[in-house]
């Protein structure tokens, strides 16, 4: 845990890290390694404090969290709601399945309306990159990005890293492969920035139509054949093929994709004995992962879900504290 300051909280069991200054959580690319570590440490502490995210701790009583989702979501949205409730905050839900323009209101106006109801955080998901950044300039409250198109999904990146850290103690020096639909994946981008900042070796793996060679220009290892890199990997993060974001199919068939990239029992035998298998979900069984691997002993997929609540509690609490100091 980083040095604690004397900022007052409602609970004596956890102290606010004085180095934390941010009021918004928009992406992992702009965070420092130190800030990411504070988030992970805080998440770990809150997880313990709430007995694996099951008990309530009244750290944020009287505050309100608005979930403003312009794109479908079940797990992230429920995870944010639960995180807020575990810390004693109230939640308000807003969702729009269609585009906001179809209803004659821009999403900025919608967000301002919700903010005017008196909320402390807006948690937002949108299909367009940069929308949380836009909101952070327009709103007075804290903005948390719960996924902006293929750009970033910081709490997903954090929960992945928290899960790895729980198993391996540290991220530094590990080889982590992100496999699949990198082009359309915000989870991939969050992991790429977060993991590399904490010292992991990141391999970006998938067909060339989904893995741009520009990632190599940015200093990351790019691979197109999973079997070539598999023996070196400590962690595999299997990303879902986002059919809904693809205009034209970037590979000939699901069958061919599965043959080249699906993590199955046979491939497991080529992997390290202690490899961690992760997936941000929802998973497409039989496409990027077979049931025997998804439900096997190396899979930490359900732990990821539980850690999601922990990192979201941490994010809400840290942003609220920074706002108070502000």
């Amino acid at each position: 845990m980083t040095t604690a300051s004397s900022v007052k909280t409602d609970s004596p069991a956890i102290e606010f890290p004085s180095q934390w200054k941010r009021r918004h959580l928009l992406d992992l690319e702009s965070l420092t390694a130190e800030e990411i570590t504070i988030l992970l440490d805080t998440a770990q502490n809150l997880k313990v404090l709430t007995h694996n995210c099951k008990n309530k701790v009244p750290l944020l009583v009287g505050k309100t969290c608005a979930n403003l989702f312009f794109e479908n979501s079940t797990r992230t949205r429920n995870s944010f709601s639960l995180a807020a409730k575990r810390l004693g905050a109230d939640t308000v839900e807003f969702s729009s399945s269609g585009s906001s323009v179809a209803k004659g209101e821009t999403f900025v106006d919608t967000a301002k309306t919700i903010e005017a109801m008196g909320v402390d955080w807006v948690v937002t998901r949108h299909s367009t990159p940069g929308t949380p950044h836009l909101l952070s300039r327009e709103l007075g409250c804290s903005v948390l990005n719960a996924g902006d198109g293929p750009h970033d999904h910081p709490t997903q990146g954090l929960l992945d890293m928290l899960t790895i850290r729980q198993h391996r103690g540290s991220i530094k020096g590990l080889t982590v492969a992100l496999v699949g639909d990198i082009a359309h994946s915000r989870t991939a981008r969050s992991n790429i920035w977060g993991l590399s900042k904490l010292g992991a070796h990141v391999i970006i793996c998938g067909p060339p139509t989904l893995v741009s060679p520009r990632w190599a220009e940015l200093g990351f290892e790019v691979a197109h054949h999973l079997d070539d890199i598999l023996p070196r990997c400590d962690v595999l993060n299997l990303l879902r093929i986002q059919f809904e974001r693809q205009k034209a199919r970037p590979f000939p068939s699901v069958h061919e994709y599965a043959a080249l990239y699906a993590m199955n029992g046979e491939r497991m035998r080529k992997a390290k004995d202690d490899i961690l298998i992760m997936a941000p979900g929802p998973i497409n069984r039989g496409v990027e992962i077979t049931p025997e691997v998804a439900d096997g002993p190396h899979s930490v997929i359900l732990e990821q879900v539980n850690n999601g609540i922990a990192v979201r509690m941490a994010a809400l609490w840290l942003l609220a504290g920074a706002n108070q100091a502000h």
Partner: protein, 436 residues
């Protein structure tokens, strides 16, 4: 300076730059009525009833000529009207703009050309020349009545802002237009490759997860366009271009003597896709802001003449349309009022090109390309003149634009060089206020 009608006017002590005559010297321009009478007339030749305008420390040039500004009327008056766009043009030192076809209804009939010309004559202040729709309904299928459009006053044909999608149609039009000696303008972009991208396809789009507009979408269209110009011998103008590939292609075909001209927009000469890091839709412009390498290549190409002209790329869009996320916000920005200062700040003051070259690209060449009067201070020509203070520094404030569009990728940036006065036919239609 007085914004009044001056029957005989002597603009003196200014630096006169006229690329059409190779003039760059301190001197005086004598205007009689609406025409230029002489440059550096002897005292004996000066008429008696003479008003004098002191232009010391200023540059006196032929009024700028724009190859394509969207004035949005009829159909999109919330973005721009002929009157507001005309005022913006005058404030930018333009004496003449090509009015482009992106309206509703589109300008594919002689009556529609007539409407714009009459409206412009009444409201615009600036000279407005109409670019007619190349295809009927701008649908890329059937040629418009190009001959009749030309008789009604159209000076070029285009399906802007789209590229002419149909190869056979473009070839036919280039061929057919030879009998009117009018150019076809193409905004080069292959739609399938552009694939509804919103920013330049590069490292920035990769990191930000934004849909990219790849350079090859433009490169392939330029390759097609110039090959069809070569095959038909028709007059082709491609623009605006924004890629190294387009520049490379233009260099090669021009060295073979093919009759092709090209233009570039000011934003592509000074800003890169790094600006999109802010996710601010005012940087969503067309052509998109490309990477630094493209910017440098375009700067060199416009300096050495591979690119013939600088066009404003004025694509006004209303505030309510622009204040949106990057996917929903339309491409576009107001540029007429900043183009000259942009070129001065980023190309002249940095030593990439000199003033005479800049005025050639902004005035003389565009007039030649569209085959209209203007772009010169020759005796006997219309007295369309811009007077520029090259040293005046000012900060771009979109909210102060005369254009209805207040969105600018240069908002908040300090530029140098300001239009002090724009004369159309000897009449001061724009005079800068000193309040700014």
């Amino acid at each position: 300076m007085q914004a009044t009608r001056l029957p005989n006017l002597l603009v003196e002590n200014g630096r006169i730059i006229d690329p059409s005559q190779g003039i760059d010297r301190i001197g005086r321009v004598l205007i009689a009525g609406n025409k230029i009478l002489a440059i550096d007339p002897s005292d004996a030749d000066l008429p008696e009833d003479l008003q004098r305008l002191d232009a010391s420390q200023q540059i006196v040039v032929p009024g700028l000529v724009d190859l394509g500004a969207e004035l949005r009327e009829p159909g999109f008056e919330e973005d721009e009207t002929i009157a507001s766009g005309g005022s913006a043009a005058l404030a930018g030192g333009y004496s003449s703009v090509r009015w482009t076809t992106n309206t509703s209804p589109c300008i594919d009939s002689p009556g529609a050309v007539e409407f714009v010309r009459q409206k412009a004559a009444k409201a615009a202040g600036v000279r407005v020349h109409v670019i007619g729709c190349l295809s009927k309904n701008r649908d890329g299928e059937q040629m418009s009545e190009l001959g009749l459009l030309s008789e009604a006053g159209a000076v070029a044909f285009s399906d802007a802002p789209r590229s002419v999608p149909n190869d056979a149609l473009l070839k036919r039009a280039l061929d057919y237009c030879r009998m009117f000696n009018l150019p076809v303008f193409d905004r080069p972009e292959v739609p399938d490759l552009a694939n509804q991208g919103v920013v330049h396809d590069g490292q920035t789009s990769l990191i930000l997860g934004l849909k990219g507009l790849p350079t090859e979408a433009e490169d392939l269209a330029v390759a097609r366009d110039v090959r069809l110009a070569e095959a038909t011998g028709g007059r082709l103008h491609v623009g605006p271009v924004s890629t190294m590939g387009a520049v490379d292609m233009l260099r090669r075909v021009k060295s073979r003597g093919i009759r092709v001209t090209a233009s570039v927009c000011p934003h592509n000469l000074c800003q890169s896709d790094q600006e999109l890091r802010s996710f601010d839709a005012r940087f969503k412009v067309h052509p998109p802001l490309r990477s630094e390498r493209h910017v440098k290549t375009l700067q060199q190409a416009v300096a050495d003449g591979t690119i013939d002209a600088i066009q404003s790329g004025h694509m006004p869009r209303s505030r309510e349309k622009k204040m949106n996320d990057l996917d929903l916000s339309p491409f576009g920005a107001a540029t007429l009022e900043t183009t000259l200062a942009t070129i001065n700040t980023y190309l002249i003051e940095t030593g990439i090109m000199d003033w005479p070259t800049a005025i050639r690209r902004l005035s003389t060449s565009p007039a030649e390309i569209s085959g209209i009067e203007g772009g010169t201070l020759k005796a006997g020509s219309m007295a369309d003149i811009a007077i520029i203070d090259p040293d005046e520094a000012w900060t771009v404030q979109g909210s102060q634009f005369l254009s209805r569009c207040k969105s600018s990728p240069l908002d908040g940036v300090e530029l140098r060089g300001r239009v002090r006065m724009t004369l159309i036919g000897g009449e001061a239609r724009y005079t800068a206020s000193d309040s700014n």
